[in-house]
């Protein structure tokens, strides 16, 4: 069995990956990165040799922190069913935290939804977990991520500072994509991570 270790700067992001959610996702990745952590998600590698669930479980095991957005509950009109991946991965994370080794038990989790108490209607078993609302607003998502991580590590920049930086980044993003020969509407997670990394080092 591979030696297990938890990376204290790694944050697992479990969220929808569709276009409609992109503004929240990008804001969360930016916020995590500016706060001195490393954003990770299932999109980060494309290794055909590793089953998707294996990859996700490996990543969950490696990340001390986890952000889980359970706001995507809408039915897919084509099949009349919702997506269950986010609640599944939240369950894996909570299980890892509950049943894992001592280092796994030190994991910390931030659960996000559109509204703070909406989860009671569809995943009431997580009552007692602190669920935070982003209201589909990237700036609120930034503040929630910041306040959660600031309770673990200090000192950290304030939410308003990160929001202002994120606005500047988003404003420059189209030009940076053109100059990088990237399509701003089809950025991979790797492209986004590197654009954010270089921008934060150069311009914040």
């Amino acid at each position: 069995m591979a030696r297990e270790y938890v990376r204290s700067k790694d944050v697992f992001i479990n969220c929808p990956f569709d276009q409609a959610y992109k503004p929240i996702f990008n804001a969360i990745v930016f916020s995590v990165s500016e706060l001195g952590f490393r954003a990770r998600c299932a999109l980060e590698t494309d290794d055909g040799g590793e089953a998707r669930l294996d990859k996700i479980m490996r990543m969950i095991g490696e990340c001390k922190y986890g952000i889980h957005d359970i706001s995507a509950t809408a039915l897919n009109p084509a099949i009349n069913l919702p997506r269950f991946n986010m609640p599944l991965e939240l369950g894996l994370y909570l299980g890892c935290k509950r049943y894992g080794s001592s280092s796994q038990r030190n994991k910390s989790v931030l659960i996000l939804d559109r509204d703070q108490y909406r989860y009671r209607n569809f995943i009431s078993d997580i009552s007692g977990q602190d669920v935070h609302a982003h209201g589909d607003d990237p700036n609120r998502a930034i503040t929630e991520v910041r306040n959660w991580l600031a309770s673990k590590v200090k000192p950290l920049p304030g939410g308003a500072t990160i929001q202002a930086h994120y606005l500047r980044f988003v404003t420059m993003l189209p030009a940076m994509c053109v100059a990088s020969e990237l399509d701003p509407n089809a950025l991979t997670f790797g492209d986004l991570s590197w654009l954010i990394n270089k921008w934060l080092i150069s311009a914040r």
Binding site: S33, P157, A179, E181, L182, S193, W194, I201, R204
Partner: protein, 89 residues
């Protein structure tokens, strides 16, 4: 960062700055500036590529996950040229 045969210390997105004969002098001036303030110094090579970053009371930026992509240099050149260019207020 390099400026012809000298080195310049300036804020990202702001024109001008202070020029120095050596990179070491520019770095030292940057360190003095952040003795009491929060921020970071980004040190460039003579070719403009980022050599290092030094952080003062702000979190260190972690490298992205996974392997370095083949277009990492291109992204860095694009981002630094745009992010460092003087911005209109």
């Amino acid at each position: 960062m390099p400026a012809k045969d000298r080195w310049v210390l300036r804020r990202a997105g702001v024109a001008g700055g202070r020029t120095f004969a050596t990179q070491r002098e520019a770095i030292e001036a940057g360190r003095k500036h952040f003795a009491s303030a929060a921020g970071q110094i980004v040190i460039h090579n003579a070719d403009g590529k980022i050599r290092a970053a030094v952080y003062f009371k702000v979190p260190k930026i972690q490298s992205p996950p996974g392997r370095v992509p083949s277009n990492a240099d291109k992204i860095e050149r694009a981002v630094t040229s745009i992010a460092l260019a003087p911005q209109a207020n």
